[in-house]
């Protein structure tokens, strides 16, 4: 699935690039059905699939602390300095940041999603986010819209929030001008078919676009609860020969689907960043998208046609894009090089590294200061949070007694290659890193995100 791998591939790419720059990175996540234990990925990236959710699934409160012993063990054996949490929905990430702070480590948090403020679920999530973020060293957001959203939700000081966008591996998204049809225009849609991805807009807009432009074809990839609506629409308007539904597509195959089209349509209702837009532009597609969330920040205006998130405007924006393509006014063949120069993971890693350096020089806060911060979270929530932190500190004392630090075997790090002579900047950094021994953990909950 395409977007499903967003956070996951973000972590993987970032970790790989950080390792290239001389850091040591490990990933902690919980185990899947098919995968648990300690694994190594490319480049010596070590992943701990912690098998703990299975045991303590029933209750919530013990889960807050049950992760602590194993987490502490991993942090000590890997000699971790910075804990970097991803994905705001996972409780694992919030717990990890709390425990890391209790252990006196530096923490960083990346927010990948936007949330509302009104409904009950959002209020609860926001409260949880506020809990974690009241005592975190730095926050990274994927777009400026996302930053505004996070600052409001967690009542943060905007100066401690940085914006580092996602990137794409441009080599994996090369355009192929021969793959697309010459006789008709093909519009590609690749997204999970959910309400928030704007599938309802799609259902309403496709028949109208097909009526207006008889030579336009659609390719829709992805699956989800709204797929049935799309199929009903196809049957009702008898568009089966013009709209092709591919079902779920693996991330590796996305490029092959994209290059078959001329226009990429993205009707999403909310989006923090929209990596898929960058991927589409990199494949040389003209992008039609809704002006929501962080999407307007993603691509320069000559690559996109914006619409409001409504049926009429989406139809007219798509028509405009079709017209532009027919007139040959869009230089889509140049998109790939432009995107390549705009988005690279090396750049993301450099910027993340700068954040790490910043939080390492900051002063350390004591327990009382931390408690004060948590207490300010709310009348009831504040007291509850303080209680949690106090219990967490006591557990740490107990763990120090039961599993003393001297009894924990440290793991060997992956043997690193000799520094490359080509990248001077990286080399300088590497030696510096060695001295200060900074390492980072990227940690996240991949539950429900991975589905192929």
């Amino acid at each position: 699935m395409l977007q499903s791998g967003g956070v996951e591939s973000h972590m993987y790419q970032l970790a790989t690039k950080l390792i290239d720059r001389g850091h040591k990175v490990i990933i902690i996540t919980h185990s899947y059905k098919t995968r648990h234990g300690v694994r190594y990925l490319t480049n010596g990236l070590k992943v701990y699939y912690v098998p703990f959710f299975v045991i303590y699934r029933e209750s919530t409160l013990p889960t807050v602390f049950s992760f602590f012993p194993i987490f502490r063990n991993i942090l000590i054996r890997e000699k971790i300095d910075i804990v970097h949490g991803h994905a705001s929905l996972s409780s694992l990430c919030h717990e990890a940041i709390l425990h890391a702070r209790t252990m006196g480590l530096r923490t960083c948090f990346t927010d990948h999603s936007l949330f509302g403020f009104a409904d009950a679920a959002s209020i609860l999530t926001n409260k949880l986010l506020k809990f974690t973020l009241s005592d975190v060293d730095h926050v990274i957001c994927v777009s400026h819209t996302c930053k505004e959203n996070t600052v409001l939700r967690a009542a943060l000081d905007p100066s401690m929030v940085s914006v580092i966008p996602n990137a794409v591996v441009a080599e994996n998204f090369k355009p192929d001008p021969t793959a697309a049809s010459k006789s008709h225009i093909t519009i590609v849609v690749i997204s999970r078919l959910f309400y928030n991805k704007g599938t309802d807009l799609l259902v309403a807009a496709i028949p109208r676009i097909c009526e207006l432009h008889p030579s336009v074809h659609f390719i829709i990839a992805g699956s989800g609860p709204k797929a049935i609506d799309l199929e009903q629409m196809l049957e009702k308007h008898m568009l089966q020969d013009r709209v092709q539904m591919l079902g779920p597509v693996r991330h590796e195959e996305v490029r092959d689907v994209m290059v078959r089209g001329h226009i990429y349509l993205h009707p999403s209702l909310t989006e923090a960043f929209g990596t898929v837009l960058v991927e589409a532009a990199s494949c040389g597609l003209y992008v039609v998208c809704t002006r929501v969330g962080g999407i307007p920040e993603v691509l320069p205006s000559h690559m996109t046609v914006f619409s409001r998130p409504e049926e009429d405007d989406l139809v007219s924006a798509t028509s405009r894009a079709i017209k532009e393509i027919r007139m040959g006014r869009v230089k889509t063949e140049k998109f790939h090089e432009q995107v390549k120069s705009m988005y690279s993971w090396t750049d993301v890693a450099e910027r993340t590294e700068r954040v790490y350096e910043g939080i390492c020089t900051g002063e350390r806060v004591g327990l009382m200061e931390r408690l004060k911060r948590y207490y300010g979270c709310g009348i009831w929530a504040g007291k509850l949070f303080v209680l949690c932190v106090v219990v967490d500190s006591l557990i740490l004392v107990l763990l120090e007694f039961l599993f003393p630090q001297s009894g924990i075997d440290t793991a060997r790090s992956w043997p690193t290659k000799a520094p490359r002579m080509t990248d001077g900047g990286g080399r300088r950094d590497r030696s510096k890193r060695r001295g200060s021994n900074v390492e980072a953990v990227v940690e996240e909950d991949l539950n429900g995100v991975r589905e192929n």
Binding site: H36, G37, V38, Y48, I70, L402, F403, G407, D409
Partner: protein
């Protein structure tokens, strides 16, 4: 013959026993034996002490069993029993009848478990004989388990990491051809990384070194 003794890091589960020690014996140039044991060194006082405590444990266990037996079936106090045993049995019987089942049963169960299974020494060993195979042995208390893997089925030896309780531990494992899982060496004592690396190097050297220096072919 060469003997090395090494300490391995202690974990909480082994808090009340001595940390295991590694002994390496090389009886011949093609054989290595790695023994990991938390038993004290085999000096005379230690041996005597060990035998004495085992005897004491046996006596106490037997007493507990007898107590249970007399409670379950009070002996007939006829004169057919030997006059020396009779007063002992009578005392036991009196004592056991004064106790209630709900106290006696759990207490004796705990006592028996402690006496028979806790605090015994564990000894685990790995014997590598070139061209023949690898033998893994675990001796815990009364039981001895051992497994022999012929050389042609040993495809490799690995040091891996795994979750165990609240910890991530290193373990040495033998990869056996045609088997799904790995065979763990030292499964109960689980020594630390330094010990494992020493064993791993020694075992692999013994298994895979060229037969003769002139051969130049490593298998």
């Amino acid at each position: 013959m060469r003997i090395t003794i090494l300490n391995s890091p202690q974990s909480i589960t082994k808090m009340f026993t001595k940390p295991p020690k590694l002994r390496i014996r090389t009886p011949s140039s093609t054989t290595v034996e790695f023994t990991l044991s938390n038993a004290p060194p085999p000096t005379l006082p230690h041996t005597l002490l060990t035998h004495f405590t085992s005897l004491l444990r046996l006596i106490l266990a037997a007493t507990t069993l007898l107590l249970l037996l007399t409670k379950f079936q009070p002996p007939p106090y006829s004169s057919s029993i030997h006059p020396l045993i009779h007063p002992i049995l009578a005392t036991f019987s009196r004592f056991s009848t004064s106790l209630q089942w709900r106290h006696l049963l759990p207490a004796s169960a705990v006592l028996l478990y402690v006496l028979l299974f806790i605090g015994g020494y564990t000894e685990e060993s790995l014997v590598v004989i070139r061209d023949l195979g690898v033998q893994i042995t675990t001796k815990t208390g009364w039981s001895t388990r051992s497994r022999f893997i012929p050389t042609e089925r040993v495809s490799d030896m690995w040091i891996c990491e795994g979750f165990r309780g609240f910890e991530v531990r290193f373990y040495l494992a033998v990869v056996v051809e045609g088997e799904e899982g790995l065979v763990v060496v030292f499964p109960t004592l689980l020594p630390g990384r330094r010990v494992l690396e020493l064993v791993w190097r020694g075992a692999r050297r013994c298994l895979h070194e060229p037969k003769h220096i002139g051969d130049g072919v490593e298998r």
